[in-house]
């Protein structure tokens, strides 16, 4: 054998043809324009949250801050009046957390169990049940509003934390089942068979084999459910009251204060506060997106 002692430059890139260069430029230009469109409103709100309300009214709604302040954030969090109770968005923020976290966890767990049962446990009528559950994904929420109102009335859960959480858990299960089923269907059948021979039952197989292989879909589902339930407005406004109101419903009443003067400053801050949790979840979860967990299971 001959020894190789010089290594050539291994970073060669295939040269682009002129038409490809033009294509690239057009592509990037389009993407930048689109990104600007999406980011503009966000930028305006962020800027307004650190401007004085007087400046916004005097200058214009869209503009650079001439003086900076963080006062809006404090007012929005703890002092702004909503329906004549001047507590800021704080209590509504915590009400949302109290609803969203359990509803997200429970609907994700149910989705994963459903997905496992529907794909790997030879359930009779699995195909039919799957279709029936996922019809919920395509049903407009307005359609189910009245049935839910009646159902919650029967259960004595109208306009309560538990009631609205229940709505979100059940509505959310349609999505989580769809996601998890489509992920778990690719899990090798042999793993489940091996576990059966090893004497593991449904829940033991679920815990020991399926869950450890599911972080990618669990994270996707959690991000989806958390964001969706947190941002959800129609159910929130319909099934809430002064005893229990999620932040999205509370924001509606924020600007209508005693003076009638629009408070763009702390309004912007309140909107941003309401937008923070889904963003946090997204940035935390995205980092844990683990790929290729099934490597080595099946050759």
């Amino acid at each position: 054998m001959t020894a190789i002692d010089t290594i050539p430059n291994l970073d060669r890139k295939k040269p682009l043809r002129p038409s490809q260069v033009v294509g690239r430029i057009a592509l990037y230009a389009t993407l930048i324009v689109l990104a600007l469109f999406v980011l503009m409103p966000l930028a305006v709100i962020i800027l307004n949250s650190v401007r004085f309300n007087d400046d916004i009214l005097r200058e214009s709604f869209i503009g650079w801050p001439t003086r900076l302040t963080l006062e809006n954030w404090g007012v929005a969090w703890g002092e702004a009046c909503i329906n004549a109770s001047c507590t800021g968005v704080k209590p509504y923020f915590w009400a949302s957390i109290l609803m969203v976290v359990p509803a997200t966890v429970i609907s994700t767990a149910i989705g994963l169990i459903n997905g496992f049962a529907l794909t790997k446990w030879k359930m009779p009528f699995a195909g039919f049940i799957f279709v029936a559950i996922t019809i919920g994904v395509f049903l407009p929420p307005q359609v189910v509003l009245l049935p839910w109102a009646i159902a919650l009335g029967w259960l004595g859960l109208s306009k309560s934390l538990v009631g609205l959480s229940l709505v979100h858990i059940i509505q959310g299960t349609c999505f989580t089942t769809l996601f998890c089923r489509n992920y778990l269907i690719n899990l090798p059948d042999d793993l489940i068979k091996a576990a059966r021979i090893d004497g593991a039952g449904f829940f033991r197989t679920f815990w020991k084999i399926v869950v450890p292989l599911s972080p990618p879909i669990i994270i996707v589902t959690i991000i989806w459910q958390f964001t969706f339930i947190w941002n959800e407005f129609l159910f929130a406004i319909t099934f809430s009251s002064s005893d229990f109101r999620p932040i999205t419903a509370a924001l509606m009443s924020l600007n209508a204060n005693d003076t009638g003067v629009s408070e763009y400053g702390f309004g912007s801050a309140a909107v941003l506060i309401a937008a923070i949790p889904p963003l946090v979840i997204y940035f935390l979860g995205g980092r844990y997106f683990v790929r290729g967990l099934t490597q080595g299971a099946v050759k």
């Binding site: 090798p188 042999d190 793993l191 068979k193 091996a194 576990a195 059966r196 021979i197 090893d198 004497g199 593991a200 033991r204 020991k208 084999i209 450890p212 292989l213 967990l293 099934t294 490597q295 080595g296 299971a297 099946v298 050759k299």
Partner: protein
């Protein structure tokens, strides 16, 4: 260890019948290999034995116990999958102990079992790795280890070596045989590698289309195949089949192939009295490629026209034609004719087989 008795087993998936009336009597400690073409029902039969699938009809007896309706965990069998099916998020050790944990085996006993098996299979240094960090051969060993710790009455293997490269496969095959000698377990082993089937097995089951074609020891399967399917399936290259008309009288029989332009006579004289009832009829003669020898050796002399020459290393495979009939021979490596040459070969007829119009082998009078 236990004997396995499979009686009248059928399996239906929707409207596909995957197994038809399978009857096998597998002895205690026997190494049985299932072979057959893809889709013939080998894995289905294994799944049924394991209890992963129910039978549509028929019974299974393991040892003295009717296990037809027992769940896999109650059957005391172990299955090694073609894919190995190692649990990817568990270490090798956890993979091996998972079954024992489920059966609530005391920790000390588990540790001992793992240590024994790891030593036997030489996987001690791998115990704390995940399957993703192992080579194909190492995964195969771990899969075997997981099966061995069960100390089952019956081992099932579904093409356990087919994912390995050729060299490793031969090594593992030898190890497998040693392991069986040492442990003496009853084994049912699926493969579509004929060499594996011939070398490993005490007996071979040949399946086609869900039907057992023959269940016999390797020599019988090779030399006295039950029918044309078995004859053609076992052996590589395949047996040559030649249509022949049986002519002559009871103790002076000649089989004649009516070829293009010329006939080929295969004289059998008094050696094949079983053909007497077929005089005047057309049947099929089967000769194996290795029954062709270089000219000069005993047998029928044939002049053939060479079409293709394929040296394989130890042998030379030659495709040639006689009277318009294309045949395959496997000869000595030194035999290297040119393509399109006319060469003379000798064909030994001692081990030739005959098949009737149904494809069933015509038995010798002494059989």
């Amino acid at each position: 260890m236990a004997a396995l008795n499979i009686e009248n087993v059928w399996k239906k998936y929707g409207n596909v019948i995957a197994l038809r009336d399978v009857n096998l009597d597998i002895r205690d400690g026997e190494f049985v290999v299932l072979v057959g073409p893809s889709g013939c029902g080998k894995s289905t039969l294994l799944s049924i034995i394991a209890g992963l699938e129910d039978t549509s009809h028929g019974t299974l007896t393991l040892g003295e116990i009717d296990v037809t309706d027992l769940s896999p965990k109650d059957r005391n069998i172990a299955l090694v999958f073609q894919s190995y099916a190692l649990y990817p998020t568990m270490t090798v050790r956890q993979n091996i102990t998972f079954g024992m944990e489920n059966r609530k085996v005391p920790k000390a006993e588990q540790d001992k079992a793992v240590a024994d098996v790891a030593k036997l299979l030489q996987i001690e240094p791998l115990l704390d790795r995940k399957p993703g960090q192992l080579s194909g051969g190492q995964r195969q060993r771990v899969a075997m280890g997981r099966a061995l710790v069960r100390d089952p009455q019956l081992f099932l293997f579904d093409e356990p070596l087919s994912n390995l490269d050729a060299k490793l496969r031969v090594e593992m095959r030898t190890e497998m045989k040693k392991l069986h000698k040492r442990l003496g377990q009853t084994i049912v082993y699926v493969t579509h590698d004929q060499v594996e089937a011939m070398t490993l097995s005490d007996r071979i089951v040949v399946i086609n289309d869900g039907v057992v074609q023959q269940f016999a020891d390797p020599d019988t399967i090779y030399q006295k195949p039950a029918n044309m399917f078995v004859a053609g399936f076992m052996g590589s290259p395949s047996m040559n089949f030649i249509d022949v008309e049986v002519t002559g009288r009871a103790r002076a029989i000649t089989a004649v192939h009516r070829g293009d332009g010329a006939d080929i006579d295969f004289p059998f004289g008094a050696t094949r009295e079983e053909l007497a009832p077929y005089i005047g009829k057309t049947i099929t003669l089967g000769v194996r490629p290795e029954h062709f020898r270089p000219a000069g050796e005993a047998g029928l002399t044939l002049t053939v026209n060479v079409d293709v020459v394929e040296p394989t290393g130890p042998d030379t495979m030659v495709v040639f034609s006689v009277a318009g009939k294309s045949l395959v021979g496997v000869l000595n490596a030194k035999f290297r004719p040119e393509e399109d040459d006319d060469v003379t070969l000798s064909l030994s007829l001692d081990e030739a087989c005959f098949f009737d119009t149904e494809g069933v082998r015509i038995r010798g009078l002494a059989e």
